[in-house]
């Protein structure tokens, strides 16, 4: 079964529902790979459009700010070689999960985080994404920490 992820999955709950019922039994690793590629492609095109140069955390932060410009409750800060993306507002994935009765953990882990990792990797392929805090585990907000490392997605 060839895996395809619709481009508007992050804004369309119906697409998420269909995607989950189709690929729920597929290995998460495979879905992550495709979602990472999707993030990477979007990142590359935005980087070119916005004229983002460099491979440092400032460039990653600039890209993320542009991607999340319509998310007023997402804050992006940089410090000591790290970019912290904190989302404490009402998450679009959470909204989709609640309305379509989908498993939040599965969707974040298979689609959400790899997508953001792919986005940041378009700036620097060695960037690590560490999911330091996760709302689907009951935390009050999601903390995505980007730092230059080995290009891994780390879910503690």
């Amino acid at each position: 079964m060839s895996l395809t992820i619709p481009g508007d999955w992050f804004v369309n709950p119906r697409v998420l529902g269909e995607f989950y019922s189709k690929y729920r039994n597929l290995e998460v690793k495979e879905i992550r790979k495709v979602s990472y590629e999707q993030g990477l492609a979007l990142g590359m095109s935005l980087k070119e459009q916005l004229g983002i140069r460099g491979e440092d955390t400032a460039a990653i932060a600039e890209l993320l700010r542009n991607v999340l410009k319509d998310e007023p409750t997402a804050s992006i800060t940089t410090e000591k070689g790290k970019v912290l993306l904190r989302n404490s507002g009402f998450c679009p994935l959470m909204t989709a999960c609640l309305s379509m009765n989908l498993p939040w953990t599965w969707l974040c882990s298979a689609l959400g985080w790899p997508f953001f990792h792919g986005l940041a990797s378009s700036v620097n392929p060695k960037v690590d994404l560490i999911m330091a805090m996760r709302r689907e585990k009951g935390a009050p907000h999601c903390d995505h920490v980007f730092q230059i490392g080995e290009g891994r997605l780390i879910i503690p």
Binding site: R24, D70, P72, T73, F90, T95, S99, W104, G138, H141
Partner: protein, 417 residues
Amino acid sequence: MVEVAPGWFPFRASILVYAVDTGESSGNRGVLRQLQDRFGGVYSEELGSLEIKDGLRRCIVKALSDAGTNRLLVAVGSSGMDLGNPSTYASTDYDMWIRGAREAVSNSPDYTVSLTLKYNGGIDDEDSFLNHVTRESGHRVRSAGKVGSCLLAALEGNESPLISEREFSCIVADSSSSRLAWEMCFEVCALAGIRGSINRLYSERRPMLSQMDASEDSTQVWINELLARMRKPIDEIRSSDLEEALKEITIQFSRLSTLTNSMRRDQVKAKALIRDFRRRLSGWNEKPFKALPTITAAELAEAEDQVAPFGDFIDRTEALTAQFDTVLDSVRTYLGIQQQKLSISEQSSSREQLVQLVSLQETLHKLEVLVVAFYMTEMARIFFETVSGSAALLTALFIPVALVASVFLSRLLSRKR
């Protein structure tokens, strides 16, 4: 469906409630076949049960399914049991079957109930019942009641909001003890199914409920920022700012209304489950026992408390939505004022254009008169040159006549237009 009760006394039962996995082909019955492979026994597809015998020891596993929930009732006992002998109840020989059933269920249960049953031999008063239950279980009694000829006690367990386990102890005080014990098993099993569904609904929504405080805070901060931006003098607010604000509000507004409506849907589901739960419990016709709260009251209060955060979530998201309405009204007002200003400036600019147009037209009329007079004079000059020797004088004298005639002609034509 009326369940057929076996002839032996079940002295221990375990009920596992778990979600139906839509990807699972064999479902609940698959668990029974798995247990049959491991422990042997007679499997009945029709009754959805597996009966295992080992000497006098007996075990029955019943698989029940309804509306997205699977229930597995595992009851153990002995066909040759001395009901009056306390030592028979303490035997652990039967635990492997109960453990086996728990292991066979792949999903972690939404709710489990342990039920111990005993014939009332030796328990002759109420105090000795409570002492007996506390001693045997190691837990305090949280609620108890008389259900028909049975004394039923619910024991204290974990106090977390996600109540996933419950322990009951039952004393059967009747000669037809086996039948009554089975009836109690099936009743508790039915109740556990509903309670498990409530528990699952709550556990699925728990992460969303727990991040409400943080989401509400950050959204509130953003609303305040947006309102602060709106408080600037009207001339400083650009229409692109309003457009951006409108876009952000629309996204957040739609997200919040989806959340509110989805949670309302779940609240309705929870209320329906609680109604079923209440109906089932009222069928027990439970009588109070000593000063303890009845099981009916305690279990109902607990289930209602568990789903109460659904309503709180709805109220809080609705309060935020109402604030969005205020922000939207501000944006609309600003847009209206800007539109009005634009139309006033458009109106004044078109009046100026009209004045210019009228003056241009007047100039054109004057020019028209001059042009006509010039042509008439030229034609007269040609005529005078042909008929007279003093054509220049006659042409000069004709100029005022030509001007008067031209004015007259122009007025005549404009009247006709």
